[in-house]
């Protein structure tokens, strides 16, 4: 446990150093790049001193760590506001989307995997396999547009884009719309939030869902061939219990690990999904930051994502140990 935390801290340290050097690896003068064709010599000098680019490299690195430790992640060039504030405003939208997508992909993915594994080589298996390949290979923004066109415009079942219509009154408590709607006992808000969330969540879930269903299938098939399954059968246990207790529980171990990794992937996919669905989250903010060459913002976003992924990985490891008693003793 402690070793795991030390590892996480070291990873974070390396990430900070890497992010610090990012701004120095940009070809050309970062100040000039940020200002564009209207850069005046004075404005360039102002930005350089603002970012501390005129100081020796090691001192810059030291200052960077000092600021980071004090919760000062710098100010966005584009907006002039603290990067941490901007991140904080947009985090709930992305987290809500990612968590729902993850839930969809875990539940549906595992279920599909189980169905496929029941009769390997059968028709169900074949069709589910084809769907997974489709889900893995279709570009996410294209799928998003298709869903918008079909379910939004043609059928009119869902709103085309946005997180919540301006017509629905909403007083944020936690910033998570679904959670707030439950806390505020507001069914309209819940329905509106969910209808906006549905298409983007499905879009974002396709890749991890396909991966998880394939993984569950193969892992389950491996487990069902194991010796202890034969032993259980010999003991006369019912097929259903064998499947659930001995098969599925063991088969889910790699799936749990993979789910942790998927969370990192989801955050990447969120950038594309948020763009299509006009989702006011971190992903789009990062796109704007990169397009606007807003280095402090990009640095902040990268660190934020790294921290998020390290946290998820650590939690995944802990869950893994909880499910698999063998790992507990090894610590």
């Amino acid at each position: 446990m402690i070793r795991r935390l030390i590892e996480a801290a070291i990873t974070m340290f390396i990430a900070i150093v890497a992010v610090f050097f990012m701004i120095h690896l940009v070809p050309g003068d970062p100040a000039q790049t940020m200002l564009g064709e209207k850069a005046t010599p004075e404005a360039i000098a102002a930005i350089r001193s603002d970012l501390g680019l005129d100081q020796p490299l090691l001192i810059q690195l030291g200052n960077f760590f000092k600021r980071f430790a004090h919760g000062d992640w710098g100010r966005s060039i584009r907006s002039g506001r603290p990067v941490l504030d901007e991140l904080r405003e947009r985090t709930p939208a992305t987290l809500e989307l990612s968590v729902l997508s993850l839930m969809i992909s875990v539940v549906v993915g595992i279920l599909l995997g189980i169905f496929a594994a029941r009769k390997p080589g059968g028709w169900t298996d074949f069709i589910l396999g084809a769907i997974s390949v489709f889900g893995l290979s279709i570009p996410i923004f294209f799928l998003g547009l298709l869903l918008v066109l079909l379910f939004g415009l043609k059928l009119g079942w869902f709103p085309l884009s946005g997180r919540l219509s301006y017509a629905v009154p909403y007083e944020p408590w936690t910033g998570f719309i679904l959670l707030d709607s439950i806390l505020q006992r507001d069914a309209d808000l819940f329905a509106a939030g969910l209808s906006h969330l549905f298409l983007p969540a499905v879009t974002l879930a396709t890749v991890p869902l396909s991966l998880l269903s394939r993984l569950t299938r193969s892992s389950l098939l491996d487990c069902l061939k194991a010796d202890y399954i034969r032993t259980a059968r010999a003991k006369g246990q019912s097929e259903f219990l064998i499947f659930l207790k001995h098969g599925l529980r063991n088969a889910l171990l790699p799936v749990i690990t993979m789910t942790g990794y998927q969370f990192g992937l989801l955050l990447g996919g969120a950038i594309l999904t948020e763009n299509v669905f006009a989702w006011p989250g971190l992903g789009r903010w990062i796109v704007f930051a990169v397009e606007g060459r807003d280095y402090p913002a990009v640095q902040g976003a990268v660190l934020f994502f790294v921290a998020g992924i390290i946290t998820v990985m650590t939690v995944t490891d802990l869950v893994h140990q909880w499910v698999d008693p063998r790992l507990r003793t090894s610590l």
Partner: protein, 533 residues
């Protein structure tokens, strides 16, 4: 495992039970077009509503609905009209500007508009010891317009009269006063909000900012105590929808009424939609080729003329801009004061270009054609444009190599004179010819490093006219100076004007009164729905 599952089911049931007992909100439906919200969609959000320092377009073009200035532009044009000032006088020597303020105007927070408020808004950008200076510093517009060098003093004459004294006559001053950075915001609000004033615009405008969900939407509400014609629509929703196609689909569905920045390739489809019309207007920009006069043989006029005649700019406009641009002949957009329509257009003429090269004794010429790496309103794809030009030049026997760097390096290198034939352009900060011509083509600019004068063009006559243009206060005389500049630049050809972009805005046909402004401002005060929705 079982316990976790049970807990989960319990929570779910509890949530559902909670929801079933909840209140039902009633939505009121009104037939009045005043109460019907107008939805406007754009690809990115505003970031900064302190117009004194805001530089980014989406902030300024929406911010002008909240915050006004002394002088404004007439709807849909570049003509100056009274706004918070009802009238103004310029002294004979061109050094004193006196503005008479409109009476009984209040800011959104109830603060009355008076001379003190105007002085406050000027001094907070100017005097480093002003209590509000540090809130939004640095004020780059103030600096870029050289206000420190121009302004001698600003003072309150009486409650409704403000007087600006300049150090020397500076005729772009009136344009500067009409530029958003000299907007008048409530001094009370500025002192109240401090550094976060950029998130709380409090002006005298027809709309107030009611809610702002970052990167999502903002809600503008009509200001009941507005001094001018009251807005025809109570609520305007400004949405952010980054994907151009999704934005268009929302427009088609009718959930959005006005959208900006469509894909040019979608326009044919948009035009077939019976519910949508497409408004268009020339943009306030110029895309051009700069010939670096320090790099032989570009110092020879015949070579520059030959290159200019060899390039088929009509084809570039048709294919690269899908027709949504116009071929330029001046370095000034046609909507700007002083545009010289008498300047002849350089004709596309391959044979004449070859003859000119022969006359100059140039054979086997190889050039570097510099293409910028980023898309700009005046040039969506410079590398593609470079390929067109490369093919055209080949036809007259000039070999060219396309050179490109990342944006920062590109600007740095061309700004230091390393470029040869350079693809670049300019977006106007305001409607003043000085902003297009002096800032880029003056000797002063050429002598700075990095410069904007990528051709290193230093014609003494042109430079004198440009300097006179800054001090001449008579509009016609000023316009004549700029006309002379353009004619001389046509003769000297330090650069080839390529195109002005065309701004296209698809809107629903039930919406009327939306005027496209040369500055790109989105004004909602005069927009309304046709009576039957």
């Amino acid at each position: 495992m079982r316990k976790v599952f049970a807990t989960f089911v319990f929570l779910l049931l509890a949530a559902m039970a909670g929801l079933s007992g909840c209140k039902n909100k009633k939505t009121t439906v009104s037939n009045s077009t005043y109460d019907r919200p107008l939805v406007f969609a754009r690809p990115s959000d505003s970031i900064d509503f302190d117009l004194a320092r805001a530089e980014e377009g989406e902030s300024i073009t929406i911010g002008i609905n909240f915050i006004e200035r002394l002088i404004d532009f007439k709807d849909g044009s570049a003509e100056l009209i009274p706004s918070l000032a009802t009238s103004w006088e310029i002294s004979k020597d061109g050094k004193t500007y006196t503005f008479h303020l409109r009476s009984k105007v209040v800011f959104h927070d109830g603060t009355p508009l008076n001379a003190d408020a105007v002085v406050f808004n000027v001094e907070r950008q100017w005097k480093k010891d002003h209590p509000a200076y540090s809130f939004s510093a640095p004020y780059s517009y103030w600096e870029n317009m050289g206000m420190d060098q121009v302004l001698e003093s600003v003072r309150k004459v009486d409650d409704l009269t403000v007087e600006f004294k300049l150090k020397y006559p500076f005729s772009p001053f009136l344009s500067a006063i009409a530029t958003p950075f000299l907007s008048v915001e409530s001094p009370t609000a500025i002192l109240k909000y401090g550094k976060t004033i950029d998130q709380h615009p409090v002006g005298t405008g027809p709309y107030t900012l009611k809610t702002w969900k970052k990167d999502d939407f903002m809600e503008l509400e009509a200001f009941p105590d507005y001094w001018g014609t009251k807005p025809k629509i109570k609520r305007v929703i400004v949405r952010v929808i980054p994907d151009n196609q999704v934005r268009l689909l929302e427009l088609k569905k009718g959930s959005v009424h006005i959208m900006v920045y469509p894909n040019l390739s979608d326009l044919a489809d948009i035009k077939n939609d019976p519910n949508i019309q497409v408004l268009s207007q020339p943009g306030l920009d110029i895309g051009y080729l700069a010939f670096n006069l320090k790099k032989p043989p570009l110092d020879k006029l015949e070579v520059r003329q030959a290159i200019s005649m060899a390039i088929d700019r009509k084809r570039i406009v048709d294919e690269l801009f899908q027709g949504y641009a116009s071929v330029a002949k001046n370095m000034l957009p046609p909507t700007v004061m002083g545009y010289n329509s008498d300047v002849p257009q350089i004709k596309y003429d391959v044979e004449k270009a070859k003859t000119l090269l022969d006359k100059a004794g140039i054979r086997d010429l190889s050039l570097e054609l510099w293409a910028m790496p980023v898309a700009r309103p005046y040039n969506p794809n410079a590398k593609k444009m470079a390929e067109f030009i490369q093919a055209d030049l080949k036809r007259v026997g000039i070999n060219s190599k396309i050179v490109s760097y990342d944006w920062g390096t590109y600007l740095d290198k061309i700004g230091k004179g390393e470029g040869q034939v350079v693809i670049i352009g300019w977006n106007g900060d305001n409607n003043d010819p000085d902003n297009f011509l002096f800032t880029v083509w003056s000797k002063e600019s050429a002598l700075r490093t990095p410069t904007n004068n990528y051709a290193f063009y230093m014609n003494e006559d042109v430079n004198n006219w440009l300097k006179q243009g800054r001090t001449e206060t008579k509009l016609e005389l000023r316009a004549d100076l700029y006309k002379k500049v353009q004619m001389q630049m046509y003769k000297d050809l330090p650069g080839l004007p390529i195109n002005h972009s065309v701004v296209v805005v698809p809107i629903r046909k039930e919406v009327e009164g939306f005027a496209l402004m040369p500055t790109g401002d989105r004004r909602f005060a005069n927009v309304s729905f046709r009576s039957s929705p």
